[in-house]
């Protein structure tokens, strides 16, 4: 469907589901791999792909026609061909994860159990948004899905790992925010000097790795550059 005068939205549904999101990323990949003429920029989200185009180079009707064709061939570009799994070290609880205790209590779990449940699965990067480089990851286990704060905190430090219902995410820079903060990563997720500026990209997979204080500091001091440069 048309969005304003120079964009088009391909909507696959209105739910958060891995299946829908795979289609979004497959279509995004198809457009970039086949270098569709006239397309300027695509923004993948949970359930839709926003396609900006130059009407001097391709008409709305032509673009719809091409995208319909791609939609029939999504399997060729499906996510199985991805597979970047990024390991994100996290120090859980304490001052860096002030809401870990709340999440544990909310679900009547031990803190260790929350950490185990949060870090033992691979999450899909559904989309990046909210603030530059913020990855929306899902889905977390039902046992630890926790509603966000009714009133957001004014300041959430950079690197904070949060929960909001069945989503988890990482704040790349200090920002106001309403997610329950259970830990922090020493990694720098967003750097304007890098191309692309976001280390974690839509369609990637992320796995959290619980680390101790020493390892956290080691990562922060030494490994940031190498983690960033791939």
């Amino acid at each position: 469907m048309p969005v304003g005068d120079r964009a088009l939205l391909v909507e696959f549904g209105n739910t958060i589901s891995l299946d829908l999101n795979r289609k979004v990323h497959a279509l995004n990949r198809a457009i970039s791999q086949l270098e569709l003429k006239g397309v300027e920029e695509c923004v993948p989200t949970y359930r839709s792909l926003l396609v900006y185009y130059d009407p001097l180079k391709i008409s709305y009707e032509q673009l719809v026609f091409r995208l319909r064709d791609f939609e029939g061939r999504l399997d060729e570009f499906s996510v199985s061909t991805r597979k970047r799994v990024l390991e994100v070290p996290v120090i859980y609880g304490g001052e860096r994860g002030p809401d870990l205790a709340y999440v544990a209590k909310y679900h009547n779990l031990d803190k260790k159990e929350v950490i185990r449940l949060h870090s033992d699965r691979e999450y899909t990067v559904y989309m990046i948004g909210f603030i530059s480089g913020f990855p929306y990851l899902g889905e977390v286990a039902d046992e630890i899905a926790t509603p966000r704060f009714e009133t957001p905190r004014l300041r959430v430090p950079a690197g904070s790992v949060g929960l909001a219902e069945k989503q988890t995410g990482i704040y790349p820079c200090e920002s106001p925010g309403g997610w329950r903060i259970i830990g922090r990563t020493p990694l720098k997720l967003f750097d304007t000097r890098k191309h692309p500026p976001a280390w974690i990209q839509p369609g990637d997979a992320v796995k959290f790795k619980p680390v101790g204080k020493e390892e956290f500091e080691d990562f922060r001091d030494n490994k940031n550059e190498t983690m960033q440069s791939d």
Binding site: T45, T192, Q201
Partner: protein, 318 residues
């Protein structure tokens, strides 16, 4: 080359170019000049490329002391500019000398002015653009708005103009405190009742003081939604009009976040996003529906106007 020193920063003065494209998928807003038309015009008046970086001035004027001779042009709203206390003309090439002081006042209507300098403002490219994104703290002059004492640099022009240019009157827009803005309905107009859409298209909205480069919060009649439909976040284009639960529309502007979960009832046409760049608190807005094909025809006409503007300029003495 050192261009000028900021004596007074004004209300909100930043370096902008046409915007930062290609990074919205990483959550990076497009930023760029709020009034694209006036921005491009200012560059053409000093024979720059249309995308060279300019200084965007908002509502209350700054003052600059020039550290070198320069050829400049001011476009956008008339902020009653003066050089050494004497009135100067907008929409025309001007020559300033070392030691000259350029000051601005307040606008009667309109909101933003652009200051272009022959050669373009010299700030580093960040993610392919010279635009400032203040909230993210990057781009433009050190990722922030200008403050007193800053020394702004410009690229040394290869040749100086022997004569200047002025904009023919019919290409100089007039700014009003009451504006009709053309919108294409969707992508989520189906979240609203027929009555809600009718309200949206027939009411006069007031721009509130909670308005900046990110977006304009409007006050006026509530737009009725169908029940309490929840929407899963998706992408926000510049010019999207989203309606939160309060029913009061918000127009998303150039520094807006790239994704969000409020339904978007409509998207403002590209030429009218430029017009919105001249809107300020307490101005009145009415939305008018336009079909996607008509909007696209108007966009092409807008692009043609900009690409032919150079040949329409009238030579003037410097």
């Amino acid at each position: 080359m050192k261009l000028c020193k900021v004596i007074k920063p004004g209300f909100f003065t930043t370096v902008q170019d046409v915007g930062r494209y290609g990074f919205q998928k990483y959550g990076v807003p497009v930023s760029g000049a709020m009034d694209n038309y006036a921005f491009v015009a200012a560059n053409l008046l000093v024979d720059n490329k249309p995308n060279d970086a300019c200084i965007e001035i908002t509502l209350q004027g700054p003052a600059f002391e020039f550290l070198n001779t320069a050829q400049i042009a001011i476009s956008g709203t008339a902020l009653s500019p003066t050089v050494n206390g004497e009135k100067v003309v907008c929409w025309q090439t001007l020559q300033v000398c070392k030691g000259d002081v350029l000051s601005f006042g307040r606008p009667r209507s309109g909101c933003r002015a652009y200051l272009a300098v022959k050669g373009g403002i010299d700030v580093p490219l960040v993610l392919d653009s010279r635009s400032t994104y203040v909230r993210g703290g990057f781009g433009g002059f050190q990722g922030r708005r200008l403050k007193a004492g800053d020394v702004i640099e410009a690229y040394e022009p290869s040749i100086l103009l022997k004569f200047g240019f002025s904009m023919p009157q019919e290409l100089v827009p007039s700014y009003s405190n009451k504006l009709t803005i053309e919108v294409v309905l969707g992508p989520q107009s189906d979240y609203f009742t027929d009555m809600g859409i009718e309200t949206f298209l027939s009411s006069i909205y007031t721009v509130t003081t909670e308005s900046d480069r990110m977006g304009y919060r409007l006050d006026g009649s509530r737009v009725e939604q169908k029940g309490s439909l929840d929407m899963v976040s998706d992408a926000i284009p510049v010019g999207a009009v989203q309606v939160p639960k309060s029913g009061k529309p918000i127009i998303m502007m150039r520094d807006a976040q790239t994704t969000g979960g409020y339904p978007k009832i409509a998207v403002v046409s590209t030429p009218d996003v430029s017009h919105l760049g001249q809107v300020k608190p307490n101005d009145k807005i009415r939305f008018s529906k336009i079909s996607p094909s008509k909007a696209q025809a108007k966009l092409l006409e807008y692009m043609r106007t900009l690409s032919q503007m150079k040949s329409e300029l009238v030579e003037s003495r410097l």
